[in-house]
């Protein structure tokens, strides 16, 4: 039985209302772009250059977010089936298929209006091979102009000067000229600095929010709740006043929760007593997002840190901030440092740090069928974390937006046995201590 409040009692906090309005406004602009005389660029969440696009007044459309929206609204299954009929293999990433299926159906936004075909595909090739093919596929279908920003992988666990110089050079010689041409606006580096200043201000509060999960009880869920908190900073709002305001509000709300000794807010209201603290690796499932989350909060399980909330930029672990004094270099560093652009040893170190700093009871991998970038190597990461922390790790398999790969009974069984295992381990620990 859920110990949380019924949905009717759940009060939407100001930050939630603010984010909702921001998203609605962005979709409104995107769907009225022609009428408003605005240009639209599509790009990815990792390596998203929102501050730069803002310099040219170009709207930022993120196809992963559209796929998530369609997943949460239970529309993606049909879109994926359509894309498979168009020749996409059942084996490949379902974001790509949901997006291609969506485009083929007229790309209807959540506001019910069609999205425009983008004026530019800004192929920020950061941390995922599929990105390259995804925009090649869109280009093949819609003939969109495409500009590639190749961000080298941190294969040796660091960003080298050569990598940074290469990214900056591409920004200067490839990306900025394309944006100028499309928008008809001359690049103004001071405008970029201003945007970056606002990014850094928002990032400061964002990191505070993530780190609030070190409290006991944690006032936030850093995975299921975290996907909402990353919304503005990972998408079309980084660098805006609205994002600064959003994170200010969010921080205030969380400060109050900490002061009141409260746990996270869930779709069913306040979570009951915190029993388990986890670190989670991998993206969530979107088609059954609420059911998935419920399996946690009904058991008093809270996620105190997650790697998915680092996919569009890592701000907490090594303190990166966008820097107005080094505008293009810091955009390059941002792209280079996104979570899946870091090699596996770095990912393991990061998770180990979260396990320790957030006093987690265990490590859970949500392995996503679609995503080799995340998933290849996760079994080894699990073993490595178990070895280093002595905490039990567990593994579940789902998919992002393909409803065929979310089996509620299996996932629930797995989680229940895992919770039991942690209980046993605790009892064992208590016996030993006694």
């Amino acid at each position: 039985m859920s110990a949380a409040k019924s949905p009717a009692e759940v009060v939407k906090e100001p930050s939630m209302l603010k984010q909702k309005a921001m998203i609605a406004d962005n979709y409104d602009k995107l769907t009225r772009a022609k009428e408003l005389g605005l240009k639209v660029s599509s790009t990815y969440v990792p390596g998203n250059l929102n501050e730069l696009l803002m310099c040219f007044g170009i709207l930022n459309n993120l196809p992963e977010i559209n796929a998530i929206q369609n997943g949460m609204r239970k529309l993606s299954g049909k879109l994926i089936a359509d894309a498979e009929k168009m020749g996409l293999s059942e084996d490949v990433c379902t974001y790509v298929k949901a997006d291609l299926g969506h485009m083929a159906k007229g790309a209807i936004a959540p506001n019910g209006k069609p999205m425009p075909v983008p004026d530019l595909l800004l192929l920020s090739y950061t941390g995922c091979f599929t990105f390259m093919k995804w925009f090649e596929l869109l280009r093949d279908q819609y003939g969109c102009r495409t500009v590639m920003l190749h961000v080298p992988y941190e294969g040796d666990g660091k960003a080298t000067k050569n990598m940074r110089d290469y990214v900056v050079k591409q920004l200067k010689d490839e990306v900025i000229p394309a944006l100028e041409e499309i928008s008809g606006v001359k690049f103004d580096i001071d405008r970029l600095r201003e945007n970056l200043r606002r990014s850094a201000a928002a990032e400061e509060n964002f990191v505070w929010v993530l780190e609030s999960a070190k409290n006991r009880p944690s006032p936030i869920d850093a995975y299921f709740g975290g996907v909402f908190y990353i919304g503005p900073i990972f998408t079309a709002f980084r660098g805006t006043d609205e994002a600064v305001e959003y994170y200010r509000l969010l921080r205030q709300e969380i400060e109050q929760r900490i002061a009141a000794g409260k746990g996270p807010v869930t779709p069913d209201g306040e979570m009951a007593a915190e029993k388990y603290r986890f670190v989670v690796e991998g993206p969530p499932n979107w088609t059954s997002f609420r059911d998935f989350w419920r399996m946690f909060y009904e058991e008093g399980a809270v996620v105190v840190a997650s790697t998915y909330t680092k996919v569009g930029g890592v701000y907490d672990y090594d303190g990166f901030r966008h820097d107005p004094e080094r505008p293009l270099e810091s955009l390059a560093d941002y792209c280079l440092g996104c979570y899946t652009n870091r090699n596996l040893p770095m990912r393991v170190d990061m998770i180990q740090h979260y396990m320790e700093a957030y006093q987690a009871d265990g490590f859970l991998v949500n392995s996503i069928k679609s995503c080799n970038s995340f998933s290849a190597g996760q079994l080894m990461m699990m073993r490595e974390i178990e070895k280093r922390t002595g905490k039990p790790a567990a593994f579940i398999e789902t998919d992002l937006v393909d409803p065929r790969y979310f089996s509620p009974a299996n996932v629930k069984n797995r989680l229940e046995s895992y919770f039991q295992m942690i209980d046993q381990k605790r009892r064992g620990g208590a016996h030993r201590a006694a």
Partner: protein
């Protein structure tokens, strides 16, 4: 003169030997010799060779390797090559390898580089990135630096400086090898009845393990022997096989396609040997020359970005024309993102040119060939029907 069968038997022995005895023997023959492993799709083997080391192509465990440990490292929805490669490593079949290079081909191989670092912290392990920007002053500069870093890393293995002259000499040696590899491919396209594809495949596989000089000699011997070999010409249709650039097909798959009535006149297996499309200048700055060759005349494949949308798939159409192929068979490893994501675009390009194509998936250990034989047979029949109509 050696017989074709002798040469191919020798290649088959090398192919079947999962202990890499030939490379072990090479290493043991002289004190201080080193071996550097690499995975698909491309590394500049010239640099390894220039350090006096043996580049060893590691293409998974093939059809006969029993994967016992490897499955514990990978979920079921990831292709087979990384798990069989891990199997080779944990079963100590690669314990003589002194360094490993993981090229930029996909996220699986990319992440495997990190796994290797975790498993073998003492070993030189490098994720070898290549530019996706092909302008000299952008991607070119970046790549020159990456090559220099690789050179330094390799110097750490061989324990000596790799000089420009060393690299120039190696470039010349590999130019000769590329010339011969291309000659074999050209010969097969001209007279496919004399050069069955499984022969050509085994010959190219031998190039993954033998020293380049020995491989070049083998290719030369084969060309002479095959030209003299009198084989009947069959009424087969001519096809290109596409999508096999990483996880390798079982040998039976290649044989099955031929038995089904198709002459394979081109393929994209083991692209490393044909990656650079022209001879690299052996004079001048060797690193700059290798970089320039990569940027300006390297092969097209799914792991590379095509900046010009109108050219997507063009190379395949050109290959069809040049090789006189009548159709394309897309054969991709299951769960292979690069091959499977590229396929619809290539297929569209072929359709626009009225070039017939079919597709199927395989794994390196696929055992059931009947469906593939039937599909290829039907494809061959339909091509013949169209051409007669």
């Amino acid at each position: 003169m050696q017989q074709v069968s002798e040469i191919i038997d020798y290649c088959q022995t090398l192919y079947e030997d999962l202990s890499f005895a030939a490379a072990r023997e090479w290493k043991a023959a002289e004190q201080g010799r080193k071996v550097v492993g690499y995975m698909p799709v491309y590394v500049p083997r010239e640099l390894i060779h220039a350090g006096g080391m043996l580049p060893l192509g590691i293409l998974g465990g093939g059809e006969d390797l029993e994967v016992i440990h490897g499955d514990a490292y990978y979920q079921s929805y990831i292709c087979r090559i990384p798990r069989s490669t891990v199997e080779l490593a944990v079963s100590k079949r690669l314990d003589f390898v002194d360094g490993m290079l993981f090229p930029s081909i996909c996220d699986v191989i990319r992440n495997l580089s990190g796994m290797w670092k975790l498993m073998y912290p003492e070993l030189y392990v490098r994720y070898f990135d290549v530019p996706q920007n092909y302008k000299d002053e952008i991607g070119g500069n970046y790549y020159v630096h990456e090559l220099q870093e690789l050179r330094q890393g390799l110097e750490g293995i061989c324990g000596r400086t790799i000089s420009d002259d060393d690299i120039r000499r190696s470039i010349a040696v590999y130019n000769e090898n590329r010339r011969l590899v291309n000659a074999v491919y050209d010969f097969r396209a001209r007279e496919p009845w004399k050069a069955p594809s499984w022969h050509v495949y085994l010959l190219m596989r031998a190039g993954m393990i033998l020293p380049v000089e020995a491989h070049s000699q083998l290719l030369q011997d084969y060309l002479a022997a095959a030209a003299a070999d009198d084989q009947p010409m069959r009424d087969n249709c001519r096809v290109i096989l596409q999508g096999m650039f990483c996880e390798q097909p079982p040998l039976n798959l290649i044989k099955s396609i031929e038995f089904a009535g198709c002459y394979i006149v081109d393929d994209d297996c083991m692209l490393v040997g044909r990656w650079l499309l022209r001879a690299v200048p052996a004079a001048g700055d060797p690193i700059a020359n290798l970089a320039r060759a990569f940027l300006k005349y390297s092969t097209e494949t799914a792991a590379k970005y095509e900046p010009d949308g109108s050219r997507k798939g063009r190379y395949l159409i050109e290959a069809v024309r040049q090789r006189g192929a009548e159709g394309v068979i897309f054969a991709a490893p299951s769960f292979c993102d690069p091959a499977l994501l590229d396929r619809p675009m290539l297929a569209n390009a072929l359709t626009r040119e009225n070039i017939p194509h079919i597709s199927f998936k395989y794994a390196e250990n696929s055992g059931q060939m009947q469906p593939i034989r039937e599909q290829a047979g039907t494809f061959a029949d339909s091509i013949k029907l169209w051409s007669e109509a």
